[in-house]
Each structure stands twice: as structure tokens, then as C-alpha cells.
């Protein structure tokens, strides 16, 4: 496989061209879940134990070949999914070790692994921590067992709390708790209670996502059939409750759906929002390198086959232009607490005036930022600027 890749002139040239710009972010997609949640649109499947070893080897092979054509100097690694911790301890250990062996980790500052409550045993947690993983993102979603059932989650609130304890005991000092709001039947009181219980556990980072009815999900179909209803007013209210509760508990609202204590904003995710290059490893993973965005084939069996056969893993590609990059920068930066430099918007004065007068944006220190109200309407504002 190595020789094939090296004999390809295009790839060789590409490696030369990009070697000047090290890639600092690596995303790894582990598509396994113990159970399929009815709202999730990510590529995932139930794990087939007979396939996992071959799959983990394929991930390492992809990483190795990427390392040959790209200059990888990861500052962040993010294992997402699916559920990376759906892999049992031993293949997960080999995978993590493999990454450590193949990559130069001298610059690494953040290595995140997503985990679901119930899939983190003390042994697994200790293994991860000991191999260099320093951040866990825990998919708690809610502290209400009834709502967890609505979401089709496998775990209970009690199990989630136990997981936090296990992770803390394993030595993790950077913990994210994922929450969801705008759930079917969720009341303001339930959401406030979930926020309060989250804050009481003192995670370093909280992600609070409004439920999105993604196409190709069971929830989407159920909404189309009229069984579930999205209510903009309630969603807006819950978003405001999150901003208030987390803000007064000392979390900085540094991106639309993300809150962190000082120094704990996710380096990996900030890489995306700053428009930095990232390499995606694994089925369905996206990479953006320079002006090229591509996605790997979203099927882990096909993925493994192709790696084995030395074939291209790409299922789709998109050539970006400087204008597209610029549009994306505006849209993504606008979502962050840094906002965008005012001079980016020079030619959109009409809209800017309107947004200013409506109190959706504010302008200081030569930067344009969303106000709290503006955060609820980030897409309307961004649409005018892209």
C-alpha cells in the first residue's frame, strides 16, 4: 500500500505542497453504537465484534498512509462517533496505542474521546487516561430518566452520574457533558433541573444542543407524521435558560452550543471554527486540507475493504474557493464569542445597521459579535453576511 501511494505523483506533489502547513487536528470516527438513538443522523451501526479488529487495523492503516502524504503534527485528536467507547477495552487500547505509535504527539494538548454513560468501566477509563487521552465528552443528554427514554438512550441518570465519578477517579480533569434541550415533552422545570444537576457535578465544559430534526432519522419521520412538534418559542426559552444558568455558574458561552470554564474551551472544535485544516480518519469522516474538503466512504465494511485493497477512501469531494472559505469563516466565527473583525463586513452596511438596531449584534474593539438575542438568530444574521 505504501509503495502504491508513493508512486502516485499527484499525491507526492500534494505532500510536498502541504508539508509547509502542518495539520494540527485529527478527527477519528468510530461508527459503533450499542443502540441507535432515534434523533441521531451521524453514521453509526451496531458493532459487529467479528469486524472490529479488522476495522481498527484499517483505521491505523489509513492514519499511516495519511502520515506519508501529509505533515501531521496533531495538537488535538478527537475520537467521535457513534460511540468510541462502544469498542471494548482491548481493541480500544490497541487503537489508542497505535495512534501514539504512528503520530508525533509532542505538540498534543487535547485528546478527546466521546463516551456514553454505561460504556465507561473504571478499567476502560484508566486505560484511556494512562495512554494520553485527557478529555472525555460524556453524552449525558438529560438527567431525567423519562426524557432519556424518549431519546432512546440506554443509560439512566444514575448511571451517568456514576460515569462522571468513574472518570474523575480515573484522573480526568477535563470533562464535557453533552446536554440536549427542546426534547419532545420537555418542560422548563425539567430543563432547569438538568442544568442545575450538571452544574453541581462541576464539569469543565458543557455542550447544550437544541434537538434538531435531522433528515433520515426516526424523529424526523415522526415529526413529519405530526407525532412530534418542534416549538420555536420553547426552544428559544430553553436556550435562554441555558445561557443564564451556565453563565451565572461561571461558564463562558464561547460558541452557540458550547460553554466552558476559563481555559477549557475545546481546542479541537475551535480549530473547525477558525477554519484550520483537519484530517478525518475513519468511515464518513470529513477532512479539510487547504481548499479541498472530502468525505470518506460512510460504511465501515466498505471502508475496511478499500483500505485493505489500497483503494481511495473518498466518497465525495468538494473544491473550496477562497470566497467559500471566507463565507465559512464568517458564518463560523460569528457563532463564537470572538465574533468577526468589523472590516470583513465593510460591504454589508445596510444589514449591519439593521442588525445593530434590532440588537442582534454589537460592535466593539473593531469586532462584530452576536448579542444574546442575536445568538438565537445566528443563521439569519450569518445569511446576510455570507
Amino acid at each position: 500500500m505504501k509503495s502504491e501511494l508513493m508512486s502516485n505523483g499527484a499525491i507526492h506533489n500534494c505532500a510536498e505542497r502541504t508539508s509547509a502547513h502542518p495539520i494540527r487536528h485529527v478527527y477519528v470516527h468510530i461508527p459503533f453504537c450499542a443502540r441507535i438513538c432515534p434523533y441521531c443522523a451521524f453514521y453509526k451501526e451496531r458493532a459487529d465484534p467479528a469486524q472490529t479488529e479488522r476495522f481498527c487495523l484499517a483505521l491505523l492503516a489509513e492514519l499511516e498512509s495519511s502520515g506519508l502524504r501529509l505533515n501531521l503534527q496533531p495538537e488535538t485528536i478527537f475520537f467521535g462517533g457513534g460511540t468510541p467507547t462502544a469498542l471494548s477495552t482491548s481493541p480500544l487500547r490497541e487503537l489508542i496505542q497505535g495512534f501514539g505509535d504512528l503520530l508525533d504527539l509532542t505538540k498534543l494538548v487535547e485528546w478527546t474521546v466521546e463516551a456514553n454513560p454505561g460504556s465507561v468501566s473504571p478499567a476502560k477509563a484508566q486505560m484511556l487516561r494512562s495512554l494520553g487521552v485527557n478529555r472525555i465528552s460524556l453524552g449525558v443528554q438529560s438527567w431525567d430518566d423519562q426524557l432519556l427514554a424518549v431519546l432512546g438512550r440506554e443509560h439512566s441518570a444514575a448511571q451517568a452520574e456514576l460515569s462522571v465519578q468513574i472518570l474523575r477517579e480515573a484522573g480526568f480533569t477535563n470533562l464535557n457533558i453533552d446536554l440536549m434541550f427542546g426534547l419532545p415533552g420537555q418542560t422548563a422545570a425539567q430543563w432547569e433541573a438538568t442544568l442545575a444537576r450538571t452544574i453541581a457535578l462541576q464539569p469543565e465544559h458543557v455542550s447544550a444542543y437544541c434537538l434538531t430534526y435531522e433528515e433520515d432519522t426516526e424523529f424526523f419521520l415522526r415529526r413529519a407524521r405530526g407525532e412530534l412538534r418542534a416549538d420555536e418559542q420553547t426552544d428559544a426559552q430553553f436556550f435562554e435558560l441555558a445561557m443564564q444558568a451556565l453563565g451565572s455558574a461561571g461558564y463562558r458561552h464561547y460558541e452557540i452550543s458550547n460553554y466552558a470554564r476559563a481555559g477549557y474551551a475545546s481546542h479541537h472544535n475551535r480549530g473547525y471554527w477558525a477554519g484550520e485544516d483537519y484530517l478525518g480518519i475513519g468511515p464518513s469522516a470529513f477532512s479539510t486540507i487547504g481548499l479541498q474538503r472530502s468525505q470518506n466512504v460512510p460504511d465501515y465494511r466498505v471502508y475496511s475493504d478499500r483500505v485493505q485493497a489500497g483503494e481511495s477512501l473518498t466518497s465525495s469531494e468538494e473544491a473550496l474557493t477562497p470566497q467559500i472559505k471566507r463565507s465559512e469563516s464568517i458564518a463560523l466565527s460569528l457563532r463564537t464569542s470572538e465574533g468577526i473583525p468589523s472590516h470583513w463586513l465593510d460591504s454589508w452596511n445596510d444589514e449591519r445597521e439593521e442588525f445593530l438596531s434590532l440588537g442582534l449584534i454589537r460592535q466593539d474593539n473593531a469586532r462584530v459579535r452576536l448579542t444574546e438575542r442575536g445568538k438565537l438568530l445566528a443563521d439569519s444574521v450569518a445569511a446576510a453576511f455570507v
Binding site: 434538531t212 436556550f239 452557540i256 478525518g280 464518513s284 463565507s327 458564518a331 438565537l376 455570507v386
Partner: protein
């Protein structure tokens, strides 16, 4: 053929009662066409006509017939447009004839359109030959139809012929009745050329082909002629008859029906009902009955895609070439961009034009709600004709607004009388009288404002009577009414496309209905949007679209970024296609939705 052996006649019938099939049978029986080369429904040449089973244009055809006693006759069949929208054209076609075959379906019996057409034929003094068609149908009820003819149309039962055009039954008898009952054309009073132009078509190779009935004198090639309405002068290039194909002749003489071609550029240059005469030996008076045709129904036609304006302009121009009753002029709307204000003879005419634009010219068009032409008497006693609500003068200078009235015949089963009366009342109609057609059906004679029957009157009759009712009307002048202009305002700004003239008593309900519909279709904006319906300065209904509170993508990581960007681009693109009214962005689809509900 001598004038004594010429018969000029037409066929009048309700839609689907078999006019076209009977025409074809007459052409076959007289050997004018042969069955093997006949297309179904030979006389209707436009696809749309064939599809709707209606005839829009009149096509004359000349047949030779040898009667039972061995005499040869020249029969000119003039096919008339069946619909009352074309009442004037029908009346001119009728004026070219001495008699008419009245077709009544043996199962359906007399219908509203039958009555309306008979009235027109009587006005022209035509001899009526009643034919009960489709007698082969299992549900044919001959006694009932005979009774209806007697009671409603005062036609003695024994006069009615029984036929089945489809099965070829009774065709001979019909032809015999044509030669024996319908009188020959009157002998001309002198040799001066008097020809009635009863229709014209535009042929891209030959220019305008005018259909003519000669009442006196002769018309032949190279003759210098003039049209009496406007004194325009032409030299005849060709005259001929339809067999049904155009066949050039040396000349046409008194009593004949045929065509002439004379370097006339568009059908608008030769008006239906005009009299053609000789330049050197002109008739002193024109034939009676000529009128300028005035459109009765108006509607704005706009391209959905504003870039298609030029394409629409060309298409409308082409349609107009062949349809001088259709008029248009450019107009522009804040909401819809550039388009045309179009005038039609009636609803069917409007639908046909719109449908032809869509089908034959592949245009995506949006039509504003149809309106009629109002007479507005100002306080300075000027009489204005207003066909566009936007041109209605300020109420303070209006003394009186008059609206066009129609005399309508509504035919319905007995059990639906109550619902139909209710419907007529809802449409601001007044009942004149009712008469029983038979044991099952009644005919209601009423007067209605034309404006009220523009949109859904016919559909409602059909739905109330489960398809058994029918309606027809004729124009009956103007009458003063309490009419007002209703405006819809979005954030204080009137939306021109939605303005309309309505009866004061209806304005509140209409205003509320439209405001509510508009609320449904205007997307949420970043601020609250006020929707108001107003008469003059007075607000009669209001609604509001609450401000958008939340529009934000929750997750924006590696794979989401392209999707997010495309979403934003789509939002931005969508905004471009919106019309901005009072700073509010309204998607064009919203206009279409609201115009549809009107």
C-alpha cells in the same frame, strides 16, 4: 348554385350535446369529406378546443347536397363558438345564417346554455330546426325532452327531429329539414357589394383570412374594397370557399359564404361584424349589428420569473394576432414586477388565453384575481372606465360606481333549489323568476353582478348539484352599487397586487379572509410584521406575523460545515427571489398563494 338553392345555417348546442359529431356526419353524408380521411372532430383545430370539447373559433364549410327529390343544394355550415363569452362573435356568425340546428341531448335535456343560445338565435330571426341527439343512449328520455322543448323553448314537439350523430341515425332527415325548413337567403335589393365579416384568422403565410357572408353584389379577386367601420381600403387578393380546405373561386355572390384575403396585417385590423363593400360603388349603409368588442374581464398576467418578461411579451403578441378580442397593455406591479394588464371577453376566454400561454408558449405565469370594468361617475360628472383597482380615483371625487350586471340562467335539480337560491343571494344576485323544466329540474332566471360570478360561481353550482346543474349568462348593462377599494397593507405599505374593488357589505369579510391568508404565507421576519386590510384610510382587519425568535444551527463541526454553508446560501438566495414590501421580504410563492385564494 342559385341563391334559391343555397342554405346558410349553424349548429347551436350545449357543451357535449354532440355539435361536433353532428357536423362531421353532415360533412360525410354530403361527401364533403370521406370517413377514411377524417380526423375526429374535424372542425375544431386547436388542441385546447378539442380537449375542452368546446369551439372557440367559427370555421365555415361549404357542402353540396342532392335532396331526396333530386335537387342540388349548396349548404354553408357556420360553426359557432358555443360559449356566451363570445356572444358577440356568436351573434355575427348567426347573422350570416338564415337558420340554426338546435341540438339537445336526449338524456340530458335542455341545459342553461341551450336557453341562452336560443335567445341569441331568436334575436337574429333565425329559423330553428330542433334535433334531439343521442337517441341511442340507454337513458335517453325522448318524451321528456320533447316536453322541455315545448314548455321552455316553445317549440312544438312534432318539429323536433330525432337523431344519433354517433350512430349515423337521422342525418338524412336533418339535411332534408335544412333544405326544406330553412329559408333561402333573401334576394339582394341591388348589386352593391355588402359582405358581413363574421370572423377572421391569421395565417403566417397568407396574412389575415377573413370569413365573409355576401348579402348583395359580388366579391372577386383584384377588386378594390373597403371596410365600412373605418374606411380602410384593400385590394382583394383571393376569394374562395372552405371545402373544408380553402379553395379559391372566381368570386362570391349574394348568399354565398366564404373567405377573402387582402393584405390585411393583423386580425385587429378587420373587426368582426364589419361590412365590406366596393370602393367605387360603395353601399350607403353598413349591415346592421356592428359593434366594437369590449373586453369584460381583466386580469394582470406576470411571468413568475421576472427574466421571462420579453418571452411573455412575444407570446402575448402572437396570441393577439389571432384573437383581436384579447387586449393587453404593459403594467408593472411592485409585488410582481413587469407584466400585462389583459382584457378578455369573459371567464372562459381568460382561462383559454392563460392556458395557451402555459401550454403553447411554455410560460410560467401568475395571474392576478380577475376583475371587471367599472363605470365611475366622478363628482365633476365625468364617466371613467376603470379596469384596474389601482386606477380607481380617490373616494372623495367619486359620485357613483357602476358595475356590470349579467342576466343568468341557472338550471338545477329540484332538490337543490334552496342551495342555489342561497348561492345566488350570497353572490348579491336577485331572482327574476323560476320555471319548471320537467318533474326533476327547474330553471332560475336571475341577475347577478358579473364580478361575483368571476371566480367560483360555476364551480359552486356544479358542486352543489353534484354536476347536474348548469349556468349561462348574457350581459345586461351596468348598475350602481356600493363598491369600495380594498387594500392590503404590509407594515403600513399597500401591496398593489392584492388591491381589489369589492362591495362594501363584503369588504370586511374579504379583508379579514385575505389578511388571515397573508399571515399564513408571509414567513417570519426578524421583527413583527403587521398585516392590515383597509378601505380608504380605515383599517377593517388586522393580523400580525410574530418576529422570528430562533434560527440557529445547533451543531457545526467538521462534516456540518458544508451543509451549514449551503443552508445559508439557500437562505440568501431565497431572499433574493423575494419581493421587498415595506422592508418585509415576501416570497413570490406567497403572492401566488394569496392570489389563488381570491
Amino acid at each position: 348554385m342559385s341563391i334559391e338553392r343555397t342554405r346558410n345555417f349553424c349548429i347551436i348546442a350545449h357543451i357535449d350535446h354532440g355539435k361536433t359529431t353532428l357536423s362531421d356526419r353532415l360533412l360525410e353524408r354530403t361527401g364533403t369529406i370521406h370517413e377514411r380521411d377524417r380526423q375526429d372532430q374535424l372542425l375544431d383545430s386547436m388542441d385546447l378546443e378539442r380537449e375542452r370539447g368546446i369551439t372557440i373559433k367559427a370555421h365555415p364549410v361549404t357542402m353540396r347536397y342532392r335532396s331526396k327529390v333530386g335537387e342540388s343544394y349548396l349548404l354553408n355550415l357556420i360553426d359557432t363558438p358555443g360559449h356566451v363569452d363570445f356572444a358577440y362573435e356568436v351573434s355575427r356568425s348567426l347573422a350570416a345564417c338564415e337558420g340554426a340546428l338546435l341540438i339537445v341531448d336526449a338524456a340530458q335535456g335542455v341545459e342553461a346554455q341551450t336557453v341562452a343560445n336560443i335567445h341569441l338565435a331568436h334575436k337574429q330571426g333565425l329559423t330553428i330546426v330542433p334535433v334531439i341527439n343521442k337517441i341511442d343512449l340507454p337513458n335517453a328520455d325522448l318524451p321528456a325532452v320533447h316536453r322541455q322543448l315545448e314548455e321552455i323553448l316553445q317549440i312544438p314537439a312534432e318539429e323536433a327531429l330525432e337523431a344519433s350523430a354517433k350512430m349515423g341515425i337521422g342525418i338524412e332527415e336533418i339535411l332534408e329539414a335544412v333544405v326544406h325548413r330553412i329559408p333561402a337567403p333573401q334576394k339582394p335589393v341591388d348589386d352593391t357589394l355588402r359582405g358581413l365579416v363574421f370572423d377572421s384568422v391569421f395565417d403566417i403565410y397568407r396574412g389575415v383570412v377573413a370569413y365573409v357572408r355576401v348579402f348583395s353584389g359580388n366579391i372577386k379577386a383584384d377588386q378594390a374594397v373597403k371596410l365600412m367601420s373605418n374606411d380602410s381600403r384593400y385590394e382583394i387578393k383571393e376569394v374562395g370557399v372552405f371545402t373544408p380546405k380553402m379553395l379559391a373561386q372566381a368570386g362570391l355572390k349574394a348568399g354565398d359564404v366564404g373567405y377573402f384575403i387582402a393584405n390585411i396585417k393583423t386580425t385587429a385590423d378587420i373587426k368582426i361584424g364589419d361590412t365590406i363593400t366596393d370602393q367605387r360603388n360603395p353601399a350607403r349603409e353598413a349591415l346592421p349589428g356592428f359593434q366594437e368588442i369590449h373586453p369584460m374581464v381583466f386580469s394582470g398576467i406576470y411571468p413568475i420569473n421576472t427574466a421571462d418578461f420579453e418571452h411573455l411579451k412575444t407570446a402575448i403578441g402572437k396570441l393577439r394576432l389571432n384573437d383581436s378580442a384579447f387586449v393587453y397593455q404593459p403594467e408593472s406591479s411592485v409585488a410582481l414586477g413587469f407584466g400585462f394588464r389583459c382584457g378578455f371577453l369573459g371567464l372562459l376566454h381568460m382561462e383559454i388565453i392563460q392556458e395557451r400561454l402555459r401550454r403553447e408558449y411554455d410560460m410560467d405565469i401568475i395571474a392576478t384575481s380577475p376583475s371587471v370594468i367599472y363605470e365611475v361617475l366622478t363628482t365633476r360628472k365625468e364617466l371613467l372606465l376603470v379596469d384596474n383597482p389601482a386606477h380607481l380615483p380617490d373616494p372623495s371625487v367619486i359620485d357613483e360606481i357602476r358595475e356590470p350586471i349579467v342576466k343568468a340562467y341557472v338550471l338545477c335539480p329540484n332538490e337543490n333549489i334552496g342551495d342555489i337560491l342561497q348561492l345566488i343571494l350570497e353572490k348579491r344576485g336577485t331572482m327574476d323568476h323560476t320555471e319548471s323544466l320537467d318533474t326533476r329540474r327547474v330553471m332560475l332566471h336571475c341577475e347577478l353582478p358579473l364580478n361575483e360570478i368571476l371566480v367560483d360561481f360555476n364551480d359552486k353550482i356544479k358542486s352543489v348539484t353534484r354536476g347536474y346543474g348548469s349556468m349561462d349568462y348574457e350581459h345586461a348593462g351596468y348598475r350602481a352599487a356600493k363598491l369600495v377599494k380594498l387594500d392590503l397593507l404590509v407594515n403600513g405599505e399597500p401591496v398593489d397586487a392584492f388591491s381589489m374593488i369589492v362591495h362594501r357589505d363584503r369588504a370586511d369579510a374579504r379583508g379579514r379572509q385575505l389578511a388571515a391568508k397573508l399571515k399564513e404565507v408571509i414567513p417570519q421576519q426578524l421583527y413583527q410584521v403587521a398585516i392590515q386590510a383597509a378601505i380608504g384610510g380605515k383599517i377593517i382587519a388586522r393580523e400580525s406575523v410574530s418576529a422570528l425568535r430562533k434560527n440557529v444551527t445547533a451543531k457545526c463541526y467538521g462534516g456540518d460545515i458544508t451543509r451549514k454553508r449551503k443552508l445559508l446560501e439557500k437562505q440568501k438566495e431565497g431572499k433574493k427571489r423575494m419581493k421587498s414590501i415595506g422592508k418585509i421580504n415576501i416570497p413570490q410563492e406567497a403572492f401566488i398563494q394569496v392570489l389563488k385564494t381570491q
